[in-house]
């Protein structure tokens, strides 16, 4: 089974997928990555960057680039340290060829993928993929989504699920030309009670989505690929990036749920202790 990952430069998701696949013992033929488009450095962008980073950090970054100082990135293959290594280095370490293309949907990328002739394409943090690319793989293109389809399509769906009081989960699905509208391969609900913050919640959901994705691909390799289920678009909505003020509400809600969960657990432990005759 030839598996190719599509990505954008330095996508963390692609690295996580590579890690998950290695864990399942699935070899990856190649990683095809879109080159990040350089955004011109306008004065407004400089101000924005100063707001984001400290002035000193920016100077160090700028000086490093100007003096061509070697990157501090050290190839480490610890799961928690994928951030410290570039995608190309990580791909090569995992035995996957690494290609860079200017546009994933462009002619160069399509020619390359036709030559690679993959059975499965995996999306590792890309934008919209067009029909020309989707037609190439023999089985299809799959994606791991941080929400339960068909109800939650689009962005920040983990947060939106918590906000609306719905179950949080992940979905592995085939990719079509819409946004998260392809056939569903697998879904799983994730318990959020042990996540006191969005950061922790996203980390948990993200981790699980990559595990499930790898498990699904393992099934394809073993010839037991999950049966795709058609999505009813009308059963869900497309969500967009959540505004900070609403995120604050999600943080509060998660914290409350966490505290309540802990209290319940304490009560249960105390109950068990009493019923077992403890003092």
């Amino acid at each position: 089974m030839k598996v190719v990952i599509l990505s954008k430069d330095e996508s963390e998701k692609a690295k996580e997928i590579l890690y998950g696949l290695r864990f399942e013992g699935i070899p990856v033929q190649a990683v095809v990555s879109e080159i990040r488009k350089e955004i011109p450095l306008t004065p407004a962008r400089i101000v924005q960057k100063i707001r984001e980073y400290s002035f000193g950090q920016l100077c160090r970054k700028g000086l490093g680039k100007a003096l061509r100082l070697p990157s501090r990135d050290v190839p480490k293959l610890n799961k928690n340290e994928t951030r410290a290594i570039s995608l190309s280095a990580y791909s090569q370490k995992e035995g996957a060829a690494y290609f860079r293309v200017p546009d994933l949907n462009g002619a160069e990328s399509i020619d390359l993928l036709k030559q690679l002739a993959p059975d499965l394409l995996i999306l590792g943090g890309t934008g919209i993929i067009r029909r020309g690319l989707l037609d190439i793989p023999r089985i299809g293109t799959v994606n791991a989504h941080m929400g339960l389809l068909p109800k939650y399509r689009g962005m920040n769906v983990t947060e939106w699920s918590v906000f609306n009081g719905d179950p949080v989960g992940v979905t592995v699905h085939f990719v079509d030309e819409g946004v998260d509208t392809g056939e569903i391969l697998y879904r799983e609900v994730i318990d959020v009670k042990d996540c006191p913050s969005i950061e922790r919640l996203r980390a948990k959901v993200s981790r699980r989505q990559h595990q499930i994705l790898a498990e699904c691909i393992r099934m394809f390799i073993d010839g037991k690929g999950p049966l795709p289920i058609h999505q009813e678009i009308s059963e869900g909505k497309q969500y967009y990036a959540m505004h900070e003020r609403l995120k604050e509400r999600v943080e509060e809600k998660l914290h409350r749920m966490f505290v309540r969960g802990e209290a319940a657990q304490r009560r249960q432990t105390a109950g068990n202790f009493c019923s077992s005759g403890g003092r």
Binding site: N164, K237, H243
Partner: protein, 394 residues
């Protein structure tokens, strides 16, 4: 050379003007940064509107602050719909100054009503010509003033204006006579809506029938993709978000008041398209074509604030949190363009026509209706956020 002439004409040699131009040139405003709490922005917008009212001694609100010539004469149409904003702010703050100012505006409007019940278009210093759209916007202020005071003078004036609007309507429901360039447009939904307000007060079916005829005429101009033909100022141009929002707001209010799904559906589907455009691009273009493709590289800040109001109302109606989410973002966007520190009273707290200020819509100007819709949007945002808190706590 042309740029130099333009810079001189907008008095770029004045520090306050130069600061605006430089900020917009460097892209320092309109990027979402620097926004403060809503109450600061709201207070500044209302203070700007007060200065606009004080710019002329008649009680009306100056149409805009222009970088080239300063404050303009009072503008009856928008003074009409600023009246409800001042009453709303009075209710929020309990500061009677705003109520008094609203009534001064209403008194001025009553004093300039034409003998046939119409109101003139344009600024007050223009040659008086009765205009349907403008009359209807003033009707909003008159009805609200009556509701707030029970003063019959306002109701009398409102009825006369309403009767004239009914008379001007063509049998198919469109307004052609006494309109801008004598062209029927769908954004007159926002002229039909005040007739529903008047009907609510006086229960006269002629006002209701006239409004419904117009809404039905507008629905017949709805295309499959949710777009409305005849939505621009003229047939050759693309529609500004300002006129699109007028159209949607009228339909939305009619749908809510009359409980008619057809109107609600027409407003909702178009509002949803614009929401998607805004969320994906993080920017609402000033103009769109009939395929909903952006047709401008600048923003129409009035249109942005109007869309915020529409999305907030849709959130209120449907509970769909995506509308509130988009409204919060677009309000932040407009907030970031509002200068809170300028020493120039025409700039401080005002909202530009376009972002950047040299965009085609109200070029180099701060229209009073931009500040009005911005204030409405912030007040509504606060109300909706409060409701959300209650819902979440409940």
């Amino acid at each position: 050379m042309k740029t130099m002439v333009e810079l001189v004409s907008v008095r770029a040699y004045r520090i306050s003007h130069l600061k605006v131009l430089v900020k917009d040139y460097l892209g320092f405003s309109g990027e979402g940064g620097g926004a403060r709490r809503n109450e600061n922005h709201l207070e500044a917008a209302l203070a700007w509107l007060c200065r606009a009212q004080d710019a002329n001694k008649d009680g009306g609100v100056a149409g805009r602050y222009r970088l080239d010539t300063g404050w303009t004469a009072s503008y009856p149409e928008t003074t009409g719909y600023i009246v409800p904003t001042f009453f709303d702010y009075y209710r929020l703050t309990r500061n009677s100054e705003y109520r008094d100012r609203a009534l001064r505006m209403a008194d001025w409007l009553v004093s300039i009503q034409m003998s046939d019940g119409a109101f003139q278009g344009g600024h007050i210093d223009a040659a008086p010509q009765p205009i349907v759209f403008n009359t209807a916007q003033i009707l909003k202020g008159l009805v609200r003033s009556y509701q707030e005071t029970a003063d019959e003078r306002y109701l009398q004036a409102a009825r006369r204006a309403g009767d004239w609007l009914v008379e001007m309507q063509d049998p198919d429901g469109a307004w052609r006579r006494c309109t801008y360039r004598n062209t029927p447009t769908v954004y007159h939904t926002t002229a039909a809506w005040p007739l529903l307000m008047l009907h609510e007060v006086v229960s006269k079916s002629r006002y209701l029938d006239c409004a419904v005829r117009h809404f039905d005429w507008v629905c017949s101009h709805r295309q499959e993709n949710g777009w409305f033909s005849r939505c621009a100022f003229d047939e050759q141009s693309n529609s500004y978000t300002h006129t699109i929002a007028y159209t949607l707001r009228g339909l939305l209010e009619a749908g809510l008041l009359l409980k008619r799904e057809r109107y609600l559906d027409a407003a909702t589907s178009a509002a949803e398209v614009l929401l998607k455009r805004f969320e994906i691009r993080k920017f609402l273009a000033a103009q769109y074509d009939d395929r909903w493709k952006a047709a401008a590289t600048f923003s129409c800040l009035t249109g942005n604030a109007q869309m915020a109001v529409i999305w907030l109302k849709l959130f209120e109606q449907t509970g769909d949190i995506r509308y509130l989410n988009a409204a919060l973002k677009i309000n932040d966007n407009v907030k970031s363009t509002q200068d809170l520190g300028s020493r120039n009273g025409g700039i401080r707290g005002g909202i530009k026509g376009s972002q950047p200020i040299w965009g085609k819509y109200i070029r180099y100007g701060y229209p009073n209706w931009a500040a009005k819709y911005f204030a409405d949007a912030l007040m509504l945002e606060d109300r909706m956020m409060q409701r959300l808190e209650e819902r979440m706590e409940g």
